[in-house]
Structure formats: C-alpha cells, structure tokens
Amino acid sequence: MATVVAPVPGRSRWLVLMPYVVLALATLPILVLYVWLFYSSFFPRVEGFRPIGDLTFDNWRFLWDPASVPQMRNRPPVIPLTVNTLLFATLTSLISLLVSSMAGYAFSRLRFKGRRVFLGGVLLLHSFPSVTLLIALFVVLRTLGLYDKLVGVILVQTAFALPFGIWIMKGFFDNIPWDLEMSALVDGAGRLRTWWRIMLPLVKPGLLALGILLFVEGWNQFLLPFVFMPSGSQQTLSTLVRGILGEGRFVDYGLLTAVGLYYIAPVLVLFVLAQDQLMRIYAGGVKG
C-alpha cells in the first residue's frame, strides 16, 4: 500500500509534517486515557497524572487477597468470574463460527428456494440495531427457562453475531475458486464432507480473524450478562467492573484501574497480535 500522495521534492516541509502534528494532537485524548489506566493501577493514588506515594502492587491485591479489599466483599471472587467470561467468549465465538460458516457456505455455493429472501434478511438484520430487542428477549428467555443462565446469554450473543458472521463467511467462500471443491463433489463426497474437509481448511485465516473478533466482542460484552444474568455466581468481569464503578460512594481509582487492566489485558494482547486482520474485517464487514 503506497501513500496516496507521495512527497514531492520542493514541497514545503510543513505540508509533509502537518498530518502528523494534527493527528497526533487529535489522538492525544485516547492516548492519555489508556496510559492513565496502566499508570494508575500501580500507584496508591494518582491526581491527574501526578502519583501520590510510591510504586506499588497494592491495587492488585484483589487477585491474591480479595478479603482485604472492602469493595470486593459481597462480590463473587475474580477467578470464577474470569472463567465465566472466558467460557462465554469462547463458546459464543465457536458456536457463531460454526453456524455462520455453515450458512455462509450455503449462501455462497448452493441454490435453494428463498435464498434471495434469506440473504436479504441477513443483510437487513446486519444493519438492524439488535439492542432494541432486549426487552422482548427478556420475555423469550423467561419463557424458555433460560433466564439467569449462562446458556441463555450465550445463545443471544451467538444469534446477535450471526448476521455479521454469515455475511463475512459468505465473502470468504466467494473468494475460493471452484476447482478444488468441484473435484471433491464429482468424486462423490457429500456436501457436508466437502464443506468440512475441503472448504473450511481453505478459509482458515478468515475463520481465525473472525474468531478473534467474535471472542473479543464476547469478552467485552456488558449489557447482555448484566440484564440477563443478574445473580452473582453467573456474572462476568464486565459486571464486576460496573459494580465497583457504580457503587456511588468514594471511587477507588487504584483498585478500579487494576481490575480494569486485568480485564482489558487479553483484548489488548489479541489486538496487538492481530490488528491488521481485525481492521480489515471491521472495514469489510461494516458493523457499528
């Protein structure tokens, strides 16, 4: 990818530097927020950017000595919450991947009755704001007996991810040439077998990228667990952070940033490792 406008000899230096200066200034607020998150978790108290006291791991006590942290009493311990969050993110991304790669394959390769209508529906739902359905989903989950259960929230999150996932997977399959699949089919392999044995391995990089994105979205999810899993033992890390943040009395930013950093760390690691793929998939898949 070349720069759009290559520097021309004789062009003023200011014009070349201008984009850097302007964008750096505009990006500063974001940078400040994230740097503070790191910084504040290792000091007893931070005022603006000025630390009060010495470098310490005291804020991280919630990991090894939760009983000594007043805000952590009456709350489920961090480790089970982490397991819940991990389970939620892993299962939603795996199920969404499976279901959307099946449907995406059908849309890309099969001709069937109602295909146009279904695909139109997928696109419609893709831009439809699913949060507006939360109230009705509350009733659906209550009726199905899935309210306040991890399974229920997993299913809702999986369904919400489908329009995006199906559309992306269809795109991946569309880009695979026909020859390989055709020879398998002519040799008499069934569609299911062809999809699993031949097609899925061919779109592995895409599956991985989509999987990471779905995992991150599951890991980050706040509203669904918050609304549909109110009881303590089933909660996730997002509801823990929200709980401490929303307590109303004196806010302990040291503890909050430590818990927040603990929660966001896996996302940041994944982002650093896979940012190119993630950006491409966000741009291609159009999801706000």
Partner: protein, 320 residues
C-alpha cells in the same frame, strides 16, 4: 376451461435430486435459521405484541391483559416525552457530526503519511471500539472526575476555568466525547478503505498538474468517496438512535431527572433497570417498538440505496 386443463402439461414434480438439494441447503441453513427465528424474528413480533399489554413485574408473565394502544397514549401523555425526544435528536445530531467529521479527518490525515505511521494512528483510534465498554467508560469517568483526580480539570485550568465534576456540571460534553471517540473509528475504517481503493493514477495526474493537497482532497478524494460517506451517515444515524450503553455507564440519563436521557435509554430504564422495582416491560416495549420500526425502515433504505440486488446475486456455478 376444461379443454385448457386437458392440454396443460402435467405439473412438474420436484425431481429427487432437486429435493435432496434443498434438504442439503436446509441442513446448512437450519441452525442459523433457528437462532434467527428465536432471537430476532420472535423478539420483533413480541415487542409489538407486548406493547399492547400491561405486562410488568406486578402482573408477572401470566396475569397480563391486552390494553390496546394505552402504552402509546401514555408515552405521549408523559411530560417527559418531548424533552427526551429533544435530547435524542441533539445526541444523534452532535455525535453523528463528531463521528463523521473526525472519522473522515483521521482517514484523510492517516493516508497522507507514511503507511506505517498511518496504520499506528488508525490502530489507536480503533482502541476505544475494541475495549470493553465498562473499562472505556471507567476511563472517561476518571477524566471527568472532580478534583484532585480528573484530567479534564488540569487541562482547562490554564484557561481559567473553575475545576468541577464534569458529569454533574456538563453531562452532555462527556456523553458526546465518550460516544464520539468510539464512533469515529467506524467512519475512519470504512472511509480509509474507500480512499485506498481510488486508483493512484488520479492523484499522480493531479500532482503533475500542480494541484495542492487540499485541492486534491476537495476535487478528487471527496467526490469519489461520497457514497461511502453517505453510507456511514445513514448507518451511524441508526446505531446512535438505538445505542445507550455508554450513556448508561456514565451519566445514566442524569444528572437529575432525565437531563441526558435518550429515547432508547428511556425504554431500557422503564423495562429493565429502574429504582422503583416495578419493571414495566410493556411500556418499555412500546418505547422500543418505535425504535424497531425506525431500525427496520432505515435498514431497508440502506439495502435499497446500496445496490442490494448485486449483493444477493445467485452463485455462479452449481453442481447438482
């Protein structure tokens, strides 16, 4: 009539192969169809049906009754509907402007620098979107916090502004910033790839002709990406009308009575989260139904305008 019937050909019956083929499609589509049916289609119908009942915590799931359009009448009898609608329009308009202008700005600036540097800036702008909403909200809560903690007070101090607790004193500023910085990345990503798709020859030709950078942007880049810009505008409008997560996590519609309450947050508060204990599902559903209609409407416009027919074209080859 009878004679015509006699000479019509026997109706074509689906061949076994054809039938088997649809069965294959069903196999592949089945799981997705079930999930979409239960968690999208049914909820849309239930939202509308529910809005004509009195379903609430007090009635429970079994003792509710049909009450006709009473919930809708109640919305417009409420003294709050007009201010909340006003809030919603201000919120959508201002955040939309922020999102699109900043998103376009970041896209343009980042493609006019070394590719590596541009990528780093775009990654930084994507951070808010890939961060957990609660952590991102925590960071803004801190930035806006009262002295001596919050950063904003230190930033404005040189300009002679009194230190304050921004979420109380200027809640709109925080609502706009927190949503603006998240939403800008959407426009940035879409518009960056749109700009990169413009053939480079056009820029080179303009350069040879001695066009300045601003002229290139105004005469070449912007006209060529007007459809993506329009797309970002329409898409973001819809998601902003429906979104309330970041408002909920910072001002929660306050301070006081409904200062920053938007329509979607009102629905959420009525049905799923309030301090009165009686969750009015039906009333919330009526509020949400208005948003659902809007959502469906705008999504259909998107499909129409952005060449839907091409997107759903039949697969090229078929093995039967």
């Amino acid at each position: 009539m009878a004679r015509i019937e006699e000479i019509t050909l026997p109706r074509e019956r689906p061949t076994p192969a054809r039938w088997r083929f649809n069965a294959t499609a069903l196999l592949f589509m089945g799981p997705a169809m079930v999930l979409v049916l239960v968690f999208f289609i049914a909820p849309v119908i239930i939202t509308f049906a529910m809005s004509f009942t009195d379903l609430a915590t007090s009635t429970g799931l079994s003792n509710w009754q049909w009450i006709g359009p009473e919930n809708y009448a109640r919305i417009f009898r409420s003294q709050f509907w007009l201010p909340i609608l006003g809030n919603t329009l201000v919120y959508v308009a201002v955040v939309l402007a922020f999102n699109v202008i900043v998103g376009l700005g970041v896209a343009l600036l980042s493609v006019h620098m070394e590719p590596k540097a541009g990528g780093v800036f775009r990654a930084l702008w994507l951070l808010p979107r890939i961060s957990p909403s609660v952590v991102y909200a925590l960071m803004w809560t801190w930035a806006a916090a009262s002295p001596p903690f919050g950063m904003l007070n230190y930033v404005v101090a040189p300009f002679g502004l009194e230190p304050r607790y921004w979420i109380q004193s200027d809640p709109w500023l925080i609502v706009i910033f927190i949503n603006g910085f998240v939403g800008a990345s959407f426009g940035m990503l879409i518009l960056t790839s749109a700009i990169k798709a413009i053939p480079e020859d056009l820029f080179r030709a303009a350069q040879v002709d001695g066009a300045s950078a601003l002229q290139v942007i105004r005469r070449i880049t912007l006209p060529l990406i007007k459809w993506p810009i329009l797309f970002v505008l329409v898409y973001q409008t819809m998601s902003l009308f429906a979104s309330y997560e970041y408002i909920y996590l910072t001002t929660n519609g306050g301070p006081g009575l409904f200062a920053t309450e938007t329509w979607s947050l009102w629905a959420f508060h009525s049905a799923l989260s309030n301090y009165y204990g009686n969750l009015e599902f039906a009333y919330g559903a009526a509020l949400a139904a208005i948003l659902v209609i809007m959502g469906l409407g705008i999504s259909m416009v998107l499909l129409r305008v952005f060449r839907f027919g091409q997107l759903v074209a039949e697969p090229r080859v078929e093995v039967e």
